[in-house]
């Protein structure tokens, strides 16, 4: 079984993170914003898992445990975020983030 070099995993995580960031910054659709955030979170997860293979002992366990928490957190975040999105959509009839710039009205 060939092992993937650790540095490759980190590169992949970096690419994923930048993709997620680019999505968040460039898209106006709120769904894509949330997706971009999810991609960035998962890029971080991937980075943790990658390090768990290279680091010794206890640190390697931490690299496996933290992604579990992050998954739970991102699930909760998506849950709340989508719920709010639906509520706001009802009043604005739009999923454009810039359309929500006058929320206090």
């Amino acid at each position: 079984m060939t092992t993937i070099p650790a540095i490759c995993i980190q590169f992949l995580a970096l690419v994923l993170f930048v993709l997620g960031l680019a999505t968040t910054l460039s898209r106006r659709n709120l769904f894509f914003l949330l997706m971009g955030v999810e991609v960035m979170l998962n890029a971080a997860n991937l980075s943790f898992v990658g390090f768990s293979r290279t680091l010794p002992g206890e640190a390697s366990v931490e690299g496996l445990v933290i992604p579990v928490f992050v998954i739970a957190l991102s699930a909760a975040e998506a849950c709340v975020g989508l719920a709010m999105l639906i509520l706001v959509f009802h009043s604005r009839e739009s999923v454009d983030a810039d359309a929500y710039s006058r929320m206090k009205e």
Binding site: L21, T24, L25, S26, D98, Y100, S101
Partner: protein
């Protein structure tokens, strides 16, 4: 040392408590129909002052002449080697000052009960009087210059409050403000003088009188005083502190406030503007005599200013028609004599004149108050006359004061003023001749005052018909002060052996300084009897001349206000003109500051700051867009900038 040192703080605290109680009474009775209870208020006020007198007497009897009892309440300023205590010191000089301050103060409190009885602000008046007593006690009891300065400012404040006591009359408020502002000019001199003194003493700087005296007496410091900078600083310190004294003691050039201060009630004029506060300048110079004697230039200035003031004010006294104004100029003139004595190094003689003057001038002022009271507010002596039959007691007391101030044999002024003239002769015959002519003019204006007030025919029958003698509370202080005017001189009757209790008492404090001056010149022996004879002759000449001019039924017409006219007015206002020379440039400078500095410099710099803030604000506001992605991008850029700063920077 004894246990009494723990009670020094009570001396100022008792009158202060009286002031607080009376102030409360005054406030509490604002809305009542009759005003405050006269009995309660007067009792509190007089007791507060009287208890302070009793305590002073106990303390004075319990110390030896050459010891001082001290109490340090707390350390006030502690900055490295420089320390100032909130402390009191009680030595024989303080004892002497406090005895007559509290003694005469108590009598005048008692007198005020009668004099102010019909005044709505009775309790307020006693509150101010008690506050004045507390301040005056702090002034002379303080163990360092800063404590004295508290009292110095306190008496200035009370003087302001009491001159403007009847503030419904705008002129009284003007007089009060004038007194306050002129005194401020002097106070600035006091402070700057203290700073100059601290600069002179260098690393040993202290404001404690005992430390200052010790520093100057220490021969190791003579070289500092001999150096150019040291001599300059010493002269500056002495002159500036003397400037403070001229403000408080109404000497040239800061004397214009005292005659105006007669706008206050007469007991105030007697207590503050004749007997006690105005003598604090003489006290301060005596207290710092070790410093002053080492600056011959300042001593000459003090003596010169003193004699000039004495003569000028005596002549001004001749032109006045207001009974209190005559006495006010007389006070200025007598204070001039005290400064002459201080300037020639006879500090004990100066203080003795302070002591006797307090009695006879208080008697004269209270007597004039009794006349004004009897005539329902009339103060113009041209409208009086023939009052001696109506007011025999007042006449007797004022005659005693007249006898004392003229320096006729065995009166109080006979001992103190002749002593000053005698010492002046030893110092410089010219000074003596000028002083003697001052004495002649004193006799002139005082006799004029007495003749116009009490003799001849009454020039205002209506007012005289209703004249009545003072009530008991006014008569008792009058009698005591009248006796004092005659008898106070016997505490230092130079010609009678053994009658020198006053000199023996205060000499431990003053002898080092006086010894420094007389060192090397030797003792001059002059015939005291001869001087007494010449002095008496001078007084008699003045009195006789005044009797010839104004006696009998000379025509004195009262036209218009009591203010002098023509040459007299110009002479009287001489130093107001001098003040104007200072006031006009000050006003011009303030105008320039108002129009140029205020608008251009300050206005311009404020506008500039405003412009910059607006500019930056506008720039930054354009970044603050309601766009989620812009905000996110900017915060990311900020995060990257911070990361780059820490990763790539010096850290």
């Amino acid at each position: 040392m004894n246990q009494l040192q723990h009670y020094l703080w009570l001396l100022p605290a008792l009158p202060l408590l009286g002031a607080i109680l009376n102030g409360t009474l005054s406030l509490a009775s604002t809305d009542t129909p009759n005003g405050p209870s006269r009995g309660l208020s007067g009792f509190i006020g007089t007791m507060a002052s009287g208890l302070a007198f009793v305590l002073t007497a106990v303390l004075a009897l319990s110390i030896r002449n050459d010891e001082a009892i001290r109490q340090v309440c707390w350390t006030w300023i502690d900055a490295g080697s420089f320390k100032v205590n909130f402390g009191f010191a009680f030595d024989s000089l303080t004892a002497m000052m406090l005895l007559f301050i509290t003694g005469i103060g108590t009598l005048i409190h008692l007198y005020s009960i009668g004099y102010m009885a019909e005044d709505r602000g009775f309790a307020r008046f006693f509150a101010y009087l008690n506050l004045f007593m507390a301040s005056m006690i702090v002034l002379v009891l303080g163990s360092n210059m800063l404590m004295t300065f508290i009292g110095w400012e306190g008496v200035g404040l009370c003087s302001y409050l009491l001159i403007g006591f009847w503030h419904h009359e705008p002129a009284n408020g003007d007089a009060a403000r004038k007194a306050f502002l002129v005194n401020r000019a002097g106070d600035l001199g006091f402070l700057l003088g203290a700073f100059a003194l601290m600069a002179l003493m260098g690393s040993n700087a202290s404001l404690e009188y005992s430390a200052i005296a010790a520093w100057f007496r220490d021969s190791a410091n003579a070289s500092i005083l001999a150096s150019g900078t040291g001599a300059g600083l010493l002269t500056a310190a002495c002159l500036l502190i003397f400037l403070g004294c001229t403000g408080k003691s109404a000497q040239i050039p800061l004397l214009t406030w005292l005659p105006d201060a007669m706008a206050g009630p007469t007991p105030v004029s007697a207590l503050i503007h004749a007997a006690t506060m105005v003598t604090s300048g003489v006290y301060l110079i005596s207290r710092m005599s070790d410093m002053f004697v080492r600056s011959p230039l300042t001593m000459s200035v003090v003596a010169g200013i003193g004699i000039a003031t004495a003569l000028w004010a005596a002549i001004a006294g001749l032109f006045q028609n207001d009974i209190k104004k005559v006495l006010a100029y007389s006070t200025v003139s007598q204070l001039g004599f005290m400064f002459v004595a201080a300037g020639i190094g006879a500090f004990d003689a100066a203080l003795f004149h302070v002591f006797t003057h307090a009695f006879f001038k208080a008697a004269l002022f209270l007597g004039s108050g009794s006349v004004i009271h009897a005539l329902h507010g009339e103060q113009d002596i041209r409208k009086m006359g023939g009052l001696w039959k109506k007011l025999p007691l007042t006449f007797g007391v004022m005659a005693a004061g007249w006898y004392a101030i003229l320096g006729l044999p065995l009166g109080a002024g006979f001992w103190s003023k002749d002593l000053i003239l005698e010492k002046a002769f030893v110092h410089s015959p010219l000074l003596y001749v000028l002083g003697l002519s001052g004495a002649v003019i004193t006799a002139l204006y005082m006799t004029r005052l007495m003749v116009l007030t009490f003799f001849g025919k009454s020039r205002d029958e209506h007012a005289a018909a209703h004249a009545h003698e003072a009530p008991v509370s006014m008569a008792v202080p009058l009698l005591i002060l009248g006796l004092g005017a005659v008898g106070a001189g016997f505490f230092w009757a130079g010609m009678i052996p053994g009658m020198d209790a006053f000199q023996v008492m205060i000499s431990p404090v003053l002898s080092p300084a006086q010894g420094f001056l007389s060192h090397g010149t030797g003792e001059h022996h002059v015939s005291a009897l001869l001087f007494a004879a010449i002095g008496t002759l001078a007084a008699l000449v003045g009195a006789t001349a005044a009797w010839k001019i104004w006696g009998g039924n000379a025509k004195v017409e009262a036209i218009g206000s009591s203010a002098p006219k023509g040459f007299g007015a110009h002479w009287t206002n001489l130093f107001d003109y001098v003040h104007a020379l200072v006031i006009w440039p000050t006003k011009a400078v303030s105008w320039i500051f108002d129009k140029v500095v205020q608008t251009v410099v300050f206005g311009g710099s404020i506008a500039l700051v405003q412009f910059i803030v607006e500019l930056v604000g506008d720039c930054v506001r354009s970044l603050q867009r309601p766009r989620l992605r812009v905000n996110l991008g900017l915060s990311l850029a900020g995060l990257l900038a911070v990361l780059a700063f820490f990763l790539l920077g010096a850290w």
